[in-house]
C-alpha cells in the first residue's frame, strides 16, 4: 500500500510539476509579451491638442494666434448599438448644420473604437450655444464630449499671407513623412507656418485611461499635458506690409490703366496690347542684416479660410489665380535692365569697359563705326527701329547719338553700352577659364541659387552659361531658344550680350534681386531671414536668428560710392525720374529700373529695385509687376511710395482712387468680437503712417 501511495504521490508531483513548468513559460519566458498585450488592451490613449504657437510681427503684432472653440469629441465605444449611432448622427447633424450623410461619413472613415474630433476642418462648426446644449443634455448625446480645442486664427486677413502661409489638416503624404503628426490636428502647409512647423506644433499631450472590456473609462493612468508650441517672432513689419500691399495693388492698377505694348511689323504699328497685369511681388529687405521687413505677393489669399473651411470653388479660384504662389520667392522673372547692376559690378571689378583695343571679329566690323576712346566712353550712332536685328547692334533709341559712359549708361539704362561692355568681356575671356566672369559676379550677389530664406519652396532662378547650354543641348535642345542669333548653338557671344541686359534665359526672383542690390550697395551679402526669433511660452528665446553674412564682396569703397551715386541718379534724373518727381526726399533714394521682355505679344515685366537711404543703405525694395510694362512707368511708382513710407515721408498716391492711404485693417472699426480681440500695437517701432487722402 505504501508503494502504491508513493506512486500516487509521484503522479501528483508530476501534475504540479507540469503546472509550474507551464507557469514558468507563460509568466517568465513569455511574460513580457503578455504584459504588452495586457497593457495594450486595458488602456486607451486620448491625445490632447497642443496649442499651436503664435506668430507675431517684429513689433509684437499678432499675425497668427489661437482661439479655443468648442469641438465635439466622439467616443464610438460609448454610443451603443447601431440604432443609437444613427440617432446620434441625426442629432449631431442638426447641431453642426451638416447633412447627416456627411456626419455619417466621418463616423465611418475613422478608425474603429477610437476617439475622434469633429471640428471646423471637417466643416462642422459648433457654436458655443450648441456646445452648452450638448453639455446640458448628456443622455441625448451618448459618447459625446465637448472639448475646447485651440484653433488657428489669422487676424490680419490677407496681410503678409504668403509669408505666414497657413496650416491645415495634414494630407496623407504629410502623415507619411511625419508619422508623429496628429491626424486630427493641423500642419503648416506654406510660409512660416510650414518652415517653422516643428517649433510651432508644440507637443501633443496624452491622457492614458484604463478601460473595462466594454470600453468604459475607469481611471486615468497617466497624463502628459500638452506643451504649447513656440512663439515665432518675424522680421516682418505688418504695418509696412499693409502699405507695401496697397502700393503694389495700386501699381498693378496703374499698369492696367496706362501700360500698353505696341507691336510693329515692318516698322508699322499693327497692334496695341493693353496691360492685363494682375500679379506682382515686393520684397523689402534690411540691407544691414538681411532681415525681410516685408514680402508681399499679389494676388493674395486669406489664411483664415483654411481654418473656417474653404469651398472647392473658392479654392479652385485661388489656384487659378495662382494666389498661393509667393511670387517674391517663387516667381522667376527675366530681370531685364535691373540686371545691369551686375554687369556694372563686373565691369568695375574687372576694369573692362565698353572699349577694349583687342576688339576684333564680327563685333569690330559692326562696331567699327563707333569711336571707342580709351576711357570707355562710346558715341552710339542713332539707329532706326527695324534695323537689321543682329544680336549685337539692336537700335539703342534711348542712348542713340549720345556720348555715354558707364555711369550715364546705368542712369539711362543704355543697352548698347552694356552690350559693348559684354562684348569686351567676351573678347577678353572667351574660351578661357574666366569666360563666365559675368555669371560669377551674378552668383556672388546671390543670383542663380536659392537665397536660403527661411521659407519653403524657394525658386533657384537661373544664370545661364556655357555649361548650362551644353546640358540643355543634351537634354532639352528646344530650350536653346531658336530666336537667338545662332539658333541651337552652344553659348555664343550674343548670349553674353543678352545676359548683360538681363534678357535671354536669365531668371531671378524679386528676393534674389533685393539681395543682389543689397549686396552691391553695401558690399555685404546677407542671407535673408523672415524669422527674427523663436520664444517658448514664457517668452524665453529658444532660437535667435542672427544676421548671417554669406560673404563680403571684394570691392573698394570707391565702387560702393560710385554704385550708390549711380543708383541715385536713376531716380533723380534717369529712367525713374518721373516716378520719383513727387518725392521730397528723392535725394536720399536710388534704384534701378527694369523692363524685361519675356514673350512676344505680352507686356514686359516691370521691375524696380530701390535703395534708401542711398548713401548709407538701410532698406532695399524690389518690386516686380508681372507683365506690367515699363520699369520706370509702373514698378518705380510702387517702389517710390514704399520708400516714402520707409523714410517717414507722406506717401503720395500712385493712382488717385487707389488703395494707398486706406486705413490699416486693425484700425477698421470692429465688426465682430474676433476683430476686437486684436492686440493693441503699442510698441510699434515704425511711426504711425500719416495717410494721404
Amino acid at each position: 500500500m505504501t508503494v502504491r501511495l508513493s506512486v500516487i504521490g509521484l503522479v501528483f508531483a508530476v501534475l504540479l510539476g507540469m503546472l509550474s513548468t507551464r507557469l514558468w513559460f507563460v509568466q517568465v519566458a513569455q511574460g513580457a509579451e503578455y504584459e504588452v498585450q495586457a497593457e495594450g488592451q486595458r488602456v486607451k490613449p486620448a491625445p490632447t491638442v497642443a496649442a499651436r504657437g503664435e506668430i507675431v510681427d517684429r513689433n509684437g503684432r499678432l499675425m497668427a494666434g489661437i482661439e479655443r472653440v468648442p469641438t465635439l469629441v466622439i467616443d464610438p465605444t460609448q454610443i451603443g448599438d447601431e440604432e443609437a449611432v444613427d440617432r446620434l448622427i441625426q442629432e449631431i447633424s442638426a447641431l453642426v448644420e451638416l447633412p447627416a450623410w456627411e456626419v455619417k461619413d466621418f463616423f465611418e472613415s475613422r478608425p474603429e473604437n477610437q476617439l475622434f474630433r469633429l471640428d471646423r476642418l471637417d466643416g462642422a462648426v459648433l457654436s458655443p450655444d450648441a456646445a452648452l446644449f450638448v453639455l446640458s443634455r448628456k443622455g441625448r448625446f451618448p459618447g459625446v464630449e465637448v472639448e475646447w480645442t485651440p484653433i488657428r486664427t489669422y487676424p490680419l486677413a490677407d496681410v503678409a499671407a504668403h509669408v505666414l502661409g497657413y496650416a491645415a489638416a495634414p494630407s496623407a503624404e504629410d502623415l507619411e513623412d511625419r508619422p508623429e503628426l496628429d491626424r486630427n490636428g493641423i500642419v503648416g502647409k506654406a510660409g512660416v507656418e510650414r518652415s517653422y512647423d516643428e517649433l510651432l506644433q508644440g507637443t501633443r499631450g496624452n491622457k492614458l485611461f484604463t478601460i473595462t472590456p466594454s470600453g468604459q473609462i475607469t481611471g486615468l493612468v497617466e497624463e502628459q499635458s500638452a506643451i504649447p508650441g513656440h512663439r515665432v517672432v518675424l522680421n516682418i513689419d505688418t504695418e509696412l506690409s499693409v502699405v507695401v500691399q496697397q502700393a503694389l495693388a495700386d501699381g498693378i492698377e496703374l499698369s492696367r490703366r496706362t501700360a500698353v505694348s505696341e507691336v510693329y511689323d515692318d516698322g508699322e504699328l499693327v497692334e496695341v496690347i493693353q496691360s492685363t497685369a494682375s500679379s506682382g511681388a515686393v520684397v523689402v529687405l534690411d540691407a544691414t542684416s538681411g532681415a525681410v521687413l516685408s514680402m508681399v505677393s499679389l494676388p493674395s489669399f486669406e489664411p483664415q479660410s483654411f481654418v473656417e473651411g474653404i469651398s472647392t470653388e473658392q479654392f479652385e479660384e485661388l489656384i487659378e489665380n495662382k494666389a498661393f504662389n509667393n511670387l517674391a520667392i517663387q516667381g522667376q522673372f527675366s530681370p531685364g535692365s535691373s540686371f545691369k547692376a551686375i554687369t556694372y559690378f563686373t565691369a568695375m571689378n574687372q576694369g573692362i569697359f565698353a572699349y577694349s583695343p583687342e576688339l576684333e571679329g564680327p563685333l569690330a566690323s559692326d562696331v567699327a563705326p563707333l569711336d571707342i576712346p580709351a576711357d570707355g566712353r562710346i558715341v552710339f550712332p542713332f539707329r532706326q527701329d527695324g534695323d537689321e536685328a543682329s544680336q549685337l547692334l539692336f537700335p539703342d533709341t534711348r542712348c542713340g547719338g549720345w556720348e555715354v559712359d558707364l555711369h550715364l549708361a546705368f542712369e539711362e539704362s543704355c543697352n548698347g553700352y552694356f552690350w559693348a561692355t559684354a562684348y569686351s568681356l567676351w573678347a577678353t575671356y572667351k574660351g578661357t577659364d574666366n569666360e563666365a566672369v559675368l555669371q560669377d559676379h551674378a552668383r556672388q550677389v546671390g543670383l542663380g541659387s536659392p537665397t536660403g530664406v527661411d521659407l519653403p519652396f524657394e525658386a533657384t532662378g537661373l544664370v545661364p552659361d556655357r555649361e548650362l547650354y551644353l546640358e540643355w543641348a543634351e537634354e532639352s535642345p528646344n530650350r536653346l531658344a531658336p530666336f537667338r542669333f545662332q539658333p541651337g548653338s552652344i553659348w555664343v557671344g550674343g548670349d553674353l550680350l543678352n545676359l548683360a541686359i538681363g534678357q535671354g534665359d536669365v531668371l531671378a526672383t524679386p528676393l534674389q534681386m533685393a539681395v543682389a542690390f543689397s549686396s552691391l550697395s553695401t558690399g555685404r551679402v546677407y542671407e535673408p531671414h523672415v524669422v527674427r526669433r523663436v520664444e517658448d511660452a514664457d517668452g524665453r528665446a529658444v532660437q535667435v536668428i542672427r544676421p548671417r553674412l554669406i560673404r563680403t564682396l571684394d570691392v573698394p569703397e570707391s565702387f560702393l560710392t560710385s554704385f550708390r551715386n549711380d543708383l541715385a541718379s536713376v531716380t533723380a534724373g534717369g529712367t525713374a525720374e518721373t516716378a520719383f518727381e513727387v518725392m521730397d526726399k528723392v535725394a536720399q533714394v536710388g534704384g534701378k529700373t527694369g523692363t524685361a521682355d519675356h514673350a512676344a505679344g505680352k507686356l514686359p515685366h516691370s521691375w524696380f529695385v530701390g535703395v534708401a537711404p542711398v548713401q548709407a543703405p538701410r532698406y532695399v525694395v524690389a518690386v516686380v509687376v508681372e507683365e506690367g510694362g515699363g520699369g520706370g512707368s509702373i514698378a518705380a511708382h510702387t517702389a517710390r511710395a514704399i520708400l516714402q513710407h520707409l523714410l517717414d515721408e507722406e506717401v503720395d498716391p500712385i493712382i488717385e482712387d487707389g488703395q494707398l492711404g486706406s486705413p490699416m485693417p486693425w484700425d477698421v472699426p470692429a465688426e465682430d468680437e474676433e476683430a476686437a480681440d486684436l492686440p493693441e500695437d503699442e510698441d510699434a517701432v515704425l511711426p504711425e503712417e500719416e495717410e494721404s487722402p
Binding site: M18, R22, Q27, Q37, P213
Partner: protein, 396 residues
C-alpha cells in the same frame, strides 16, 4: 453499539489535530478571500455596492467551513464506513434534486437550502470517496494483494448513477473528477498491472466513442478548438482562454502586486473570482506567488497521502486517496485551464474560488483526513509514553 474491541478502541484514541493540514487549509481560504476582494471590489464599487460584499460572503462560508472541518475531525471516520450505503443514497438523491430546482445559466447544478444555493456534486466528492472506499476496501478475511474484477465493476457501477446525473446537469468537468479519484482508489486498492491497463484503455476507448457519437455539446467542442488555437475567436468563444493566459503572463515573475492586476482589476477575465481566480493570483502575485500556492496544495496532498500511509486502516487509506485524487485533479485542471495546459472546464480552485459548496466539501474532506490522522495507530514513541502515563487525550 460496540463496534470495536477495547483493544482497538485504545489503539485508535484520537490524538490531536494535524497542524500542517489545518494551517495549509486556512492559508488557502485566507488567500481566497483576499483574491476575491481584489477581483470583485472594483466591479462592486462601479455598481454602487459595498466593495466587501463578495469577500464577506466568502468569509462567512469560511467560518462554516472551519466548523465543518472541526466537526468531521471529531467524528470518528470509521462511523462513515458503516453509513456508506445511506451516504450513497443521500448523494444520489441530492444530485437528483437539482433537477427540481430552476436552471442557472442553463445548468441545474444547484439546490436551495435556507436561501443558499448548494452544489450537491461538490459534496458528492468526499461522499463518493467514502462509498468507493467502503466498497473497495480489503476485508479482514481477504488476501492483501487481491482485487477482483468483481470489486472493480461494483465500484464503477456505484459511480455510474451519480456521474450520469452530474453529466446531464451538465457538468462534464466535475464528473471527470470522479473518474480520476475512482481510478486512483482502484489502483491504491491493489489493482494489478493488467487491470490498470484495462481500465485506462477502457476509459480512453469510452471517451473516444462518446466523442464520436457527438456526446460533447457545441460549447464543449469550442473549448477544445480554443485550447488548440485560441486565435480562432479571441473576442468570442476563446475570450476567456486568451484573457486568462494574458493576465497570468502579464504578472511575470513577481506579479503586478496585490490589487494591481492590469486585467483582473478591470474585470477583463470573466469568472475571475470563481473558476478563474487563478488568473488574479497569477497576474497580481506573479510566478512566485503562483508557485508558492501550488506548493501549499502539494503540502496538503502530501499530508493526505502521508496520513494514508500511517493510518493502518485500508478503508481510511482509500478514503484519503479518493480525497487527494479529487483535490489534486481539480487543482491541476483548474490551474491548467488558465494557462492553456488543459481545455477549459468549469471547476473551481478548491478552498480559493468564491462559492460555498466547493469550500465546504473540501473542508469536510480535510476534516475526514484530520479525523483519520487523529485516530492513526500510536507511534512507538507514543506507545512508550502511554505505557508510562496512560493514553493521551486528543482535542476530539
Amino acid at each position: 453499539m460496540t463496534l470495536f474491541t477495547p483493544e482497538e478502541r485504545r489503539r485508535f484514541q484520537p490524538s490531536g489535530s494535524d497542524p500542517v493540514l489545518f494551517v495549509a487549509m486556512l492559508l488557502l481560504i485566507g488567500l481566497g478571500i483576499t483574491m476575491i476582494y481584489s477581483a470583485t471590489a472594483q466591479q462592486l464599487l462601479a455598481a454602487g455596492v459595498d466593495p466587501y460584499t463578495s469577500m464577506r460572503k466568502q468569509a462567512i462560508w469560511a467560518v462554516i467551513a472551519v466548523i465543518l472541518f472541526l466537526a468531521f475531525s471529531i467524528v470518528d471516520y470509521r462511523e462513515l464506513e458503516h453509513f456508506a450505503g445511506g451516504i450513497y443514497i443521500a448523494t444520489v438523491l441530492a444530485i437528483l434534486a437539482t433537477y427540481f430546482f430552476p436552471e442557472v445559466n442553463g445548468a441545474t447544478r444547484w439546490i436551495l437550502v435556507g436561501g443558499q444555493s448548494l452544489q450537491p456534486s461538490e459534496f458528492a466528492k468526499p461522499a463518493m470517496a467514502v462509498v468507493l472506499a467502503a466498497s473497495l476496501r480489503r476485508r479482514r478475511d481477504e488476501e492483501e494483494t487481491t482485487l477482483t474484477w468483481k470489486k472493480i465493476v461494483r465500484a464503477l457501477l456505484l459511480l455510474v448513477l451519480p456521474v450520469l446525473l452530474i453529466v446531464r446537469q451538465p457538468d462534464l468537468g466535475t464528473s471527470l473528477v470522479y473518474f480520476f479519484l475512482a481510478g486512483l482508489m482502484i489502483y491504491a486498492a491493489g489493482a494489478t498491472g493488467r487491470q490498470v491497463v484495462g481500465l485506462v484503455g477502457g476509459a480512453v476507448a469510452a471517451g473516444w466513442v462518446l466523442f464520436q457519437v457527438g456526446f460533447l455539446k457545441a460549447y464543449q467542442l469550442s473549448r477544445f478548438t480554443c485550447f488548440f488555437d485560441p486565435g480562432t475567436d479571441p473576442q468570442g468563444d476563446c475570450y476567456n482562454q486568451v484573457q486568462s493566459i494574458t493576465a497570468i503572463g502579464s504578472g511575470r515573475f513577481s506579479g503586478k502586486g496585490l490589487f494591481n492586476g492590469y486585467l483582473t482589476q478591470l474585470n477583463y477575465v470573466p469568472e475571475q473570482e470563481s473558476d478563474f481566480i487563478f488568473t488574479a493570483i497569477g497576474e497580481q502575485l506573479g510566478f512566485l506567488g503562483a508557485v508558492v500556492i501550488l506548493a501549499v496544495y502539494a503540502v496538503i496532498l502530501w499530508r493526505l497521502l502521508a496520513i494514508g500511509i500511517t493510518s493502518g486502516d485500508p478503508f481510511a487509506t482509500l478514503v484519503l486517496v479518493g480525497i487527494a485524487g479529487g483535490l489534486g485533479f481539480q487543482v491541476f485542471v483548474n490551474v491548467g485551464m488558465t494557462v492553456q495546459l488543459v481545455p477549459i472546464t468549469g471547476l473551481p480552485l478548491p478552498l480559493v474560488s468564491a462559492g460555498g459548496s466547493s469550500m465546504l466539501a473540501t473542508a469536510i474532506s480535510l476534516g475526514i483526513a484530520n479525523s483519520i490522522w487523529a485516530r492513526r495507530p500510536a507511534t512507538r514513541a507514543q506507545q512508550r509514553t502511554e505505557l508510562v502515563s496512560g493514553p493521551i487525550d486528543g482535542p476530539g
